[in-house]
């Protein structure tokens, strides 16, 4: 660790000397070879720039434009710090690998609450600085030691209004009922949402869903296995519905508006018993921009106007209670925290998923394949 900083310093000093002519080119190259740095990387002077920008790590696609416009641009204007997005997707394994190899390239990751709890426990995350980030700007109970909710997303299903126009399905029990509602189904491939949906379909009351009875849920899921497809990405879920391959499909809520538009309203979203997933902004230990800057950024994302902006662009529901009332009327249907939906949804329990997620995913994969 010490060596790295020392070498970096030596390299920078060498670059400055080279630029000003004190160090001959040959000597500079030898210096770089000794340190092990590529000459051009150092001479370009980029070594210091990394600390002056915030890198948000998310899943790409529309999220890039939406997060840049809603969060990044206003933040850069306010503070003068740069803003960049890394779209490779902050999965737990990647964060763990990054922190352990001491090569952290992102400052804040747009991940799940259960990531915040699991990775926080294993020591891979920076604790959130609640003197800068405001706990009151988050829905009660969704500010954890190592992560804070900026948005909610969720799982719900969309159904074919043409096929089921007489008695539209309203509950997960209807989703899992292939006798009265014939046709194919689609579920998320990696267990989130599907487990809770299956339990509710099997008659478990909303407040009894956690801790999840995995075997009971998997039995239910296996019962419609023949008619099910499983998707691993939002675009695959969208494609299955738009191509008419399923008559009821589980989706991420932020896709629902787009799918309704793409199918000319034929497929409609059902928010009853939707599973609301708290997102969490988490900071990998040793992030390049430093603790102070990244906490400033996260605090700036709590601004209600910016969260509403993001919701309008991307479909991710705000987590700041002050923003709930600001949700535009025509979009209230799609927001998991709007007043009409807040009582109907099931709030995901990140503690249970942090503990049992790995086992749940493996058992689920075993059941569906």
């Amino acid at each position: 660790m010490q060596d790295k900083a020392f070498f970096k310093d030596m390299a920078l000093q060498g670059a400055e000397d080279f630029k000003s002519g004190r160090l001959g080119r040959r000597d500079f190259l030898i210096l770089c070879a000794v340190i092990g740095a590529a000459p051009f990387a150092v001479a370009a002077g980029d070594a210091e720039a990394a600390a002056n920008e915030i890198v948000l790590w998310n899943w790409g696609g529309d999220a890039v434009k939406c997060h840049t416009d809603s969060f990044g641009a206003p933040f850069s204007k306010e503070t003068g710090l740069g803003f960049r997005i890394d779209t490779s997707g902050p999965l737990q394994g990647k964060i763990k690998e990054m922190v352990e190899s001491k090569h952290v390239t992102a400052d804040v990751a747009d991940a799940d609450a259960f990531d915040a709890i699991a990775l926080g426990k294993s020591g891979h995350l920076e604790p959130i600085d609640y003197s800068v980030v405001d706990k009151n700007k988050v829905l009660e109970g969704f500010a954890w030691e190592h992560g804070v909710s900026i948005i909610f997303y969720g799982y719900a299903f969309m159904y074919d209004t043409e096929k089921f126009k007489d008695n539209p399905p309203t509950t997960w029990a209807d989703f899992f009922n292939t006798r009265d509602y014939p046709g194919k189904r689609s579920l998320y491939k990696w267990a989130n949402g599907a487990i809770e949906g299956a339990l509710m379909a099997d008659g478990v009351a909303k407040d009894q869903v956690y801790p999840c009875d995995l075997d009971r849920a998997l039995d239910k899921i296996k019962s419609i296995k023949e008619d099910s497809f499983y998707w691993g990405s939002g675009s695959a879920a969208q494609q299955m519905i738009v191509n008419g391959e399923v008559s009821m499909g589980m989706v991420w809520l932020n896709r629902a508006k787009i799918v309704e538009a793409d199918t000319n309203g034929r497929y409609r979203l059902n928010m009853n018993q939707a599973i609301a997933m708290p997102g969490a902004y988490i900071v990998p230990k040793g992030n390049p921009a430093g603790r102070a800057n990244v906490m400033k950024f996260i605090a700036s994302c709590q601004t209600p106007e910016r969260q509403i902006d993001l919701f309008r662009c991307h479909g991710m529901t705000p987590a700041n209670p002050a923003a709930f009332a600001m949700i535009p009327d025509d979009l209230k249907r799609f927001a998991v925290t709007s007043e009409e939906n807040l009582s109907r949804v099931l709030l995901n329990d990140p503690e249970w998923w942090a503990e049992n997620g790995g086992e749940a995913v493996n058992k689920y994969l075993d059941a569906i394949s």
């Binding site: 737990q92 394994g93 497809f229 499983y230 691993g232 494609q239 391959e245 790995g358 994969l365 569906i368």
Partner: protein
């Protein structure tokens, strides 16, 4: 017992090769070994992860699925590839060039583009099903994709160029006059093919099968997309263990298994034929 002086010539050649060996060892072998060691160090030192191979029914199922699909893919790809290569070898220059060009063109299409194209073509409301249901041939759309059939279609389509190229290389080395000679000695076309051409093309067959099988073992994207989530193969499972469930020990153990199987396969084959000839180096 070797006298010290007799190996002198061999020493010089080893010195020439040594820098390359060191490069491979340091930048390739050592990092790969590091990863494979995780299988015996996480979550606790020991062979616990390998025990899971015997105790876990799901792991067994995934491995059997992978094996089954890879074998089927290999058989089908090599069969079709053989036909294509045979045709190409017996055609004249221009037709052969065209066939080669078309095949290479499809070779260069990305695997992701192919997968989504297959979904569009063969999906429930895709082109093929629209034709079939529209013309009245079938009542319900046929399930071509989002199941094992779709996976096999996608994989065979991807593997055919890999099968054709070694076969082509081998067949081009077979002297056409041998077939003429066999005819003049009284062998009918079928007899000549079975007794002479096929055995001569055997090295090509083995090389093609080996190549296709080994590549199929690592296939991730095609089964994930075309299988509808229902065809879980070992590569995708390893990826899930590394990224989502963070069970690096199991992931590394499976990776070691796949790597060991490939080496084992090569070893068994080396007993039967000359591996260096298989990969192009003449003895």
């Amino acid at each position: 017992m070797r006298l010290p002086g007799t190996d002198r010539r061999l020493d010089a050649y080893w010195l020439l090769v040594a820098p390359l060996l060191v490069l491979v060892a340091v930048f390739f072998a050592w990092p790969v070994l590091n990863i494979l060691l995780i299988s015996v160090t996480e979550p606790a030192p020991g062979l616990g992860n390998y025990e899971k191979l015997i105790t876990s029914a799901s792991l067994g199922r995934i491995l059997r699925t992978t094996l089954r699909i890879c074998l089927l893919t290999t058989v089908m790809s090599v069969a079709v590839g053989y036909l294509i290569a045979y045709t190409m070898v017996h055609l004249g220059g221009r037709e052969r060039a065209w066939m080669l060009a078309l095949m290479l063109l499809s070779f260069w299409v990305s695997v992701l583009v192919r997968a989504f194209s297959w979904l569009t073509l063969l999906g429930r409301n895709g082109l093929i099903n629209a034709m079939l249901t529209g013309s009245g041939l079938v009542d319900e759309p046929v399930a071509f994709v989002r199941n094992e059939t779709g996976v096999l279609i996608g994989m065979v389509h991807y593997m055919i160029p890999y099968a054709v190229l070694p076969l082509l290389a081998n067949m081009q080395g077979i002297d056409q006059r041998i077939m003429d000679a066999s005819r003049s000695l009284g062998a009918g076309p079928l007899h000549g093919f079975l007794r002479i051409y096929l055995p001569l093309s055997a090295p090509g067959l083995v090389a093609a099968s080996l190549l296709v099988f080994i590549i199929s073992l690592g296939f991730y994207v095609t089964p994930a997309l075309l299988g509808g989530g229902r065809v879980l193969m070992v590569a995708e499972y390893i990826s899930v263990q590394v990224l989502v469930t963070v069970q690096w020990g199991v992931a590394s153990m499976l990776a070691t298994l796949v790597l060991a199987s490939v080496f084992g396969l090569l070893f068994v084959l080396s007993r039967v034929m000359s591996i260096s000839e298989l990969f192009g180096a003449r003895a």
